[in-house]
């Protein structure tokens, strides 16, 4: 039953909180990740037993996203013990248990079928990720956490209002509303249009803040810049994808109500604007972690752009959700290793990483090629699918803008990445004794192998999941 996907990580969170040994505790994270992989596999093979219905249940989108989250979390969790062992000076009780609560809430967002409860879960992820961002306990991370909490909470407060508006659109039409997704989809054609429209806009702004779409992205460079690489990977790969799922739920209602054109227009604008803002800030970016944050803004733009185009673009966007998330894992974790070795995330201080950290820097470089859509990596396939959908829909101006912005990002990101990995090692490379180790590199290598694998071949079960999820977003029920 879908409830296990939430209960298992929560159970591990309790165990982590009760475990006294700071050296043993981090190993509970990969243990939880491995258990979750098993639970998800059982869940995806089984037909579902209806326990927890109608509130909880795995529809095609939920099946795809919970499966993906389990893989991402397991690999990030496998990186955690090595990282936390290096940070033995910091207590990790709160960090470990909160990270598991955070993971549980992400699974709840993906599997919940009630718009109100989905909101509760999204807000819970904000609160759970606050302490994760604050792990370094310096003035800069205080500032980042404060902005993240305040902007995030206010943003999702608007999403709550949007949820209420959509519920009111049913009430106004004389339907006894339950805020259950299935009920809303069934009664969608009768919903009161003004309330549905304004509700969708508010939900898009609110959950878009969480997702980091421009112009609501202002917390993102600060948060990702100051967060440990491990946390950045989970935020940029997991949380933003969950916020995207929340937006998709409202999009589904719009499609079912025959208002998809209205929703697609808004998504198209936000998507292109996010890509443009990201492109502008990535050129001459002197901080390689902030650069990754802008890359995240860009790819959130690509996700909503794919949905806005529709057709094959929907399939492309869902595939890109996975490709982007796994590539972000590679980039944030390897950037975290480089940051650790040099003690700086400015390109002024960091150069020659390839000779100081051969493995991490190679993975960072490969991650850069992957995320910018270079073949044969996965993001190339999903971005190409979205581009093909644009051509097919005869949206040539959009396609031109999309391609142009991808080039700008490639050049901007490339100059920063190359400055980090190439050249002679800077003096800062002696700042810390940290060098590549097995625990710090192996999970990243596996993530990269997955990104590469998805570019060469999509396994049949995943293809079926993607097709089902895309169909759920395209066909009005």
């Amino acid at each position: 039953m879908a409830l296990w996907l939430v209960i298992v990580p929560l159970g591990f969170a309790v165990v982590a909180f009760a475990t006294p040994g700071a050296r043993v505790r981090p190993w509970l994270l990969p243990a939880a990740g491995a258990t979750q992989l098993g639970v998800v596999a059982l869940e995806l093979v089984g037909r579902g037993d209806g326990v927890g219905a109608p509130w909880l249940g795995l529809d095609p989108i939920g099946r795809l996203v919970t499966g993906y989250l389990a893989v991402l979390f397991f690999l990030c969790a496998a990186y955690a013990p090595g990282y936390l062992a290096l940070r033995a000076d910091r207590p990790n009780r709160i960090f470990c248990s909160v990270m598991l609560v955070f993971f549980a809430m992400m699974n709840l967002i993906a599997s919940v079928q009630h718009l109100g409860l989905m909101w509760v879960a999204v807000e819970a992820t904000t609160l759970a990720s606050g302490p994760l961002l604050y792990f370094n306990r310096n003035p800069r991370s205080i500032e980042a956490t404060w902005k993240y909490l305040l902007i995030g909470s206010v943003g999702i407060a608007l999403a709550l209002l949007g949820t209420f508006f959509v519920a009111y659109s049913a009430l106004r039409a004389g339907i006894a509303t339950s805020m259950l997704l299935s009920d809303m989809l069934a009664s969608a054609p009768q919903l009161s249009r003004p309330w549905l429209h304004s509700g969708f806009v508010l939900a898009l702004v609110g959950y878009g803040t969480k997702m980091g779409l421009a112009p609501m992205h202002t917390w993102k460079p600060d948060a990702y810049g100051e967060a440990p690489g491990l946390v950045g990977a989970l935020l940029a790969g997991g949380l933003t994808s969950c916020a995207f799922v929340a937006i998709l739920r409202f999009f589904q209602i719009c499609v079912a109500a025959g208002e998809s054109e209205f929703a697609r227009t808004l998504l198209l604008f936000l998507g292109l604007f996010s890509m443009a803002v990201a492109g502008a800030f990535m050129v001459r970016q002197g901080d390689y972690k902030r650069m990754l944050a802008y890359s995240s803004v860009e790819h959130m733009g690509i996700l909503v752009l794919g949905i806005a185009i529709g057709g094959a673009g929907t399939f492309g966007a869902l595939l890109h959700l996975i490709n982007n998330g796994l590539s972000k894992g590679v980039l944030f974790l390897s950037a975290g290793n480089i940051h650790r070795a040099y003690g700086s995330k400015r390109t002024d201080d960091v150069s020659g990483a390839l000779s100081v950290l051969p493995a991490s820097a190679s993975l960072f470089l490969a991650g850069f090629f992957a995320i910018t859509g270079t073949p044969p990596f996965g993001p190339f396939v999903s971005e190409f699918t979205i581009l093909t959908a644009m051509m097919h829909a005869e949206r040539y101006a959009v396609a031109a803008a999309f391609l142009g912005l991808l080039v700008v990002v490639f050049v901007g990101m490339g100059s920063t990445v190359l400055a980090v990995v190439q050249g002679e090692p800077s003096e800062r490379s002696e700042a810390t004794p940290y060098r590549d180790g097995f625990l710090g590199v192996a999970p990243i290598a596996v993530l990269l192998a997955l990104v590469l694998g998805l570019g060469l071949w999509i396994p049949a079960p995943l293809l079926a999941l993607l097709r089902d999820a895309a169909a759920a977003l395209e066909i009005a029920r």
Partner: protein, 213 residues
């Protein structure tokens, strides 16, 4: 029932103005707390019938929004020496004028909305928008971290008021979830405020400007 509900909502609107006009941090927190108590009463009245569920939700609203959350914030003021909001980005008189404008606009705007008859007859929707806008105003024009949290609370109160139109539709679990989320949010913000104060010896968010392009 409608008259009583309107009376409570007028109280909520008055508290908006009191909040905009005060420079004292403690007073602003008290006003937000009183709003929380009124919201608990409004929830009870809006349901129109007494049941265990309604009773529990109203009590929970009063306990969390009216008592627990304000006391977290009051505790945060006790540790610091600053008692007043000094030099807000928009002055107190100007804030009051803007607040009056927002309330007027909310009243006019709500008339043009396609509301059900039973909701058009009461102040719920205009009071919700006016409180929401007041929250935004406080949030964006004040410098102290505490006042910004009070602004966020007021904004959330405004959304809560809109939720009164949906009392039949929102399940118990969600109502409790929303309240608990808000409580934990303020709790976590309280911890971070404590650290801001320890790190910068001040609760002014002007110190939080080192992260930029």
């Amino acid at each position: 029932m409608e008259e009583t509900l309107d009376l409570v909502l007028v109280g909520v609107l008055l508290l908006n103005f009191l909040m905009l006009g005060t420079s004292r941090l403690k007073a602003a927190i008290h006003f937000a707390g009183m709003q929380g108590v009124l919201l608990g009463a409004a929830l009870f009245i809006a349901h129109g019938h007494a049941s265990g569920r309604v009773f529990f939700l109203s009590i929970a609203t009063v306990a969390l929004k009216g008592i627990a959350i304000p006391s977290i914030l009051l505790r945060a003021t006790r540790n610091i020496s600053i008692r007043r909001e000094i030099e807000p980005f928009v002055g107190f008189t100007a804030s009051l004028v803007l607040g009056a404008l927002a309330t007027g606009l909310s009243l006019v705007f709500s008339r043009s909305l396609p509301l059900l008859d039973e909701h058009a007859a009461v102040l719920v929707v205009p009071a919700s928008f006016a409180t929401l806008l007041t929250g935004f105003l406080v949030l964006t024009t004040r410098r102290k971290a505490i006042t910004q949290v009070v602004g966020y609370l007021t904004l959330e109160n405004g959304i809560f008021v809109f939720g009164l139109t949906l009392v039949e539709a929102i399940p118990f679990l969600v109502e409790i979830g929303v309240l608990l989320d808000l409580f934990v949010a303020v709790f976590v913000m309280g911890i971070i405020m404590d650290h801001i104060h320890r790190e910068f010896s001040s609760l002014s968010t002007e110190h939080l400007t080192s992260l930029r392009e």
